[in-house]
């Protein structure tokens, strides 16, 4: 019987082994990185796989440190392409589909997700309007820092400060800290 091996298998064994190790060591981080970019886990995993396929087609072995950076760069490029293809309408939707949250075997999941959403909404409303707007433009409108600066008349460092504080504050509130406990931590 003829053995019809696919071209990636012809890559040198050492390269395959290096990639395999890379995959095992960094898959979680790569998916985490891509979820951050793309907003959903299923697509993040798809892109991670696509990145590995591209790496397999790269026939020259390299140092693992090079491969690692290259893998993330490759994945980032694929993610950027995908984001470009998304229409404005898709962007306005919650990029994390609630089905991601609710599709679970536990019936409590939906309730927990609702409670978390309520906590985040409440936390955002406790913050100054300019903070909240900067965050919503970033998260919901998908705007980049530079565009948020223009829209709100802020300096880049201010926008970054706002996003940083909103994130830390809301996360602490999600974790059950009260407004009185969380505010002094984030707003010194």
């Amino acid at each position: 019987m003829t053995d019809e091996r696919q071209s990636p298998e012809q890559a040198p064994r050492t390269h395959l082994r290096a990639l395999s190790e890379l995959f095992e060591q960094h898959n979680r981080m790569l998916v985490s990185f891509l979820v951050n970019r793309l907003g959903n886990e299923a697509e993040a995993k798809e892109v991670a796989q696509e990145a590995y396929v591209r790496m397999l087609q790269l026939h020259k072995p390299g140092a693992v440190s090079f491969l690692r950076a290259y893998l993330f760069r490759t994945a980032a490029n694929i993610a950027v392409d995908r984001l470009r293809r998304r229409t404005r309408a898709e962007h306005a939707e919650p990029v994390y589909q609630s089905e991601d949250l609710f599709d679970s075997n536990s019936p409590d999941r939906e309730l927990i997700a609702r409670e978390q959403l309520d906590a985040v909404r409440r936390a955002l409303l406790e913050l100054p309007e300019r903070y909240r707007r900067a965050f919503l433009l970033s998260r919901i409108e998908g705007m980049r820092t530079a565009d948020i600066c223009k829209r709100l008349g802020l300096k880049a460092s201010q926008t970054r400060l706002y996003l940083r504080r909103v994130t830390a504050y809301c996360r602490l509130r999600m974790d059950g800290l009260t407004e009185e406990e969380a505010k002094p931590r984030v707003f010194p």
Binding site: G39, E90, E99, R121, R144
Partner: protein
């Protein structure tokens, strides 16, 4: 708050802020150097990675507000004073995008996916639409694929076999989608280890066992410990210990290919078995004793580039005993007419096995 607690609290807040900065940077124009620095930051302290994950999960939850934002502001912002008393109406259910349904528990993340898998039907195989979990796949060119699962259990997969893994904190669910796999289960009684074969559940009790799906026929062989096999649709349940096997066939197809000694079609049946024979696939040998030919051919088709079809129920029901070497499948096929009253003929890239002389002339 003691000074110590105060320092810890500050520390945690700073981590969250750093994570927020990283998340923002990585969403925009991160250079390769940025990515490397981010990874170093994550690896420097597990609390960093944890903070990053928590920031991500906040980011995800906040996406649920999309239906409540107009012109960059929450619609509920104008009535902030009443927010404690009334819950804003939940946003309209978001339009479902076509997307595989995944369980998202972080614990379901599997770091072990065979690299060789990538060459073979990648997307179809890695993303089964109907079940959550990550797939472990064995490639066409690899006779045996070893995978270690997050709990330390091990799976060996035969060529072109697919196992899905969906772990949570309190259970270990897997599914054998296709092919054959040998499971060595890490002992963890409070976290059941259950392999799904369609609606049949194979539950391990401190165990190693093999499952083979071949056409409509499935066989569980126990090499260590005990398994319980339970079928959802009819509540049929059996137990098997080391040295025994459980077989069943899909009822929908039972009429055409009945077990010769079966009275109630599709029952889970327990019988003694030679375990070493069953596990020989790991050395490139498929060994059969009195196996229906159609099930042998279903295995054959996983190992061969040339799919084989069987014409005629009488041929499907023939019983094969012997060895199929997985690297010389074609030769085995040509030997069949010496064993059985059949003809083997080529049809394009495929082969057909049919009753002898059925092609007149």
């Amino acid at each position: 708050m003691t000074p110590n607690e105060h320092a810890t609290a500050n520390d945690e807040t700073r981590r969250l802020e750093q994570a927020a900065d990283w998340a923002a940077l990585l969403r925009e124009d991160a250079s390769e150097a940025d990515i490397v620095r981010w990874m170093e930051w994550c690896e420097a302290d597990p609390r960093n990675q944890d903070a990053f994950d928590r920031v991500q999960s906040f980011w995800r939850v906040a996406g649920g507000l999309a239906g409540e934002v107009e012109n960059g502001e929450l619609t509920s912002a104008s009535r902030t004073e009443s927010i404690g008393d009334r819950r804003p109406a939940p946003p309209a259910a978001p339009r479902r995008r076509r997307m595989p349904r995944f369980a998202v528990a972080a614990s379901a993340l599997l770091a072990t996916v065979a690299v060789g898998a990538l060459s073979w039907n990648l997307y179809q195989r890695l993303y089964w639409p109907e079940v959550g979990g990550e797939a472990v796949v064995a490639a066409a060119a690899d006779p045996v694929r070893n995978a270690r699962l997050p709990d330390g259990s091990r799976v060996q997969l035969a060529t072109r076999s697919v196992v899905e893994v969906n772990y949570t904190e309190d259970r270990r669910f897997l599914a054998l989608r296709d092919g054959e796999a040998y499971f060595s289960v890490a002992h963890s009684p409070e976290r059941p280890f259950v392999v799904h074969v369609d609606d049949v559940r194979v539950r391990a009790v401190g165990t190693a066992f093999n499952i083979r799906r071949a056409g409509q026929r499935s066989v569980v062989t126990v090499t260590e410990g005990t398994v319980e096999v339970y079928r959802e649709r009819d509540g049929n349940e059996v137990r098997a210990v080391a040295g025994e096997r459980v077989t069943w066939e899909e009822t929908g197809h039972m009429q055409s290919v009945p077990e010769k000694d079966s009275t109630a079609g599709g029952d889970l049946r327990v019988a003694a078995v030679d375990v070493s024979e069953v596990l020989a696939w790991r050395e490139g040998r498929l060994e059969y004793t009195d196996e229906p030919l159609y099930a042998v051919i279903a295995d054959f088709n996983r190992y061969s580039e040339h799919p084989v079809e069987i014409h005629g129920d009488a041929v499907r029901r023939l019983r094969f005993s012997g060895t199929l070497l997985t690297d010389v499948t074609e030769e085995w096929l040509y030997a069949l007419p010496h064993l059985f009253p059949v003809d083997v003929r080529r049809q394009g890239k495929a082969y057909v096995i049919e009753p002898r002389n059925s092609q007149a002339g």
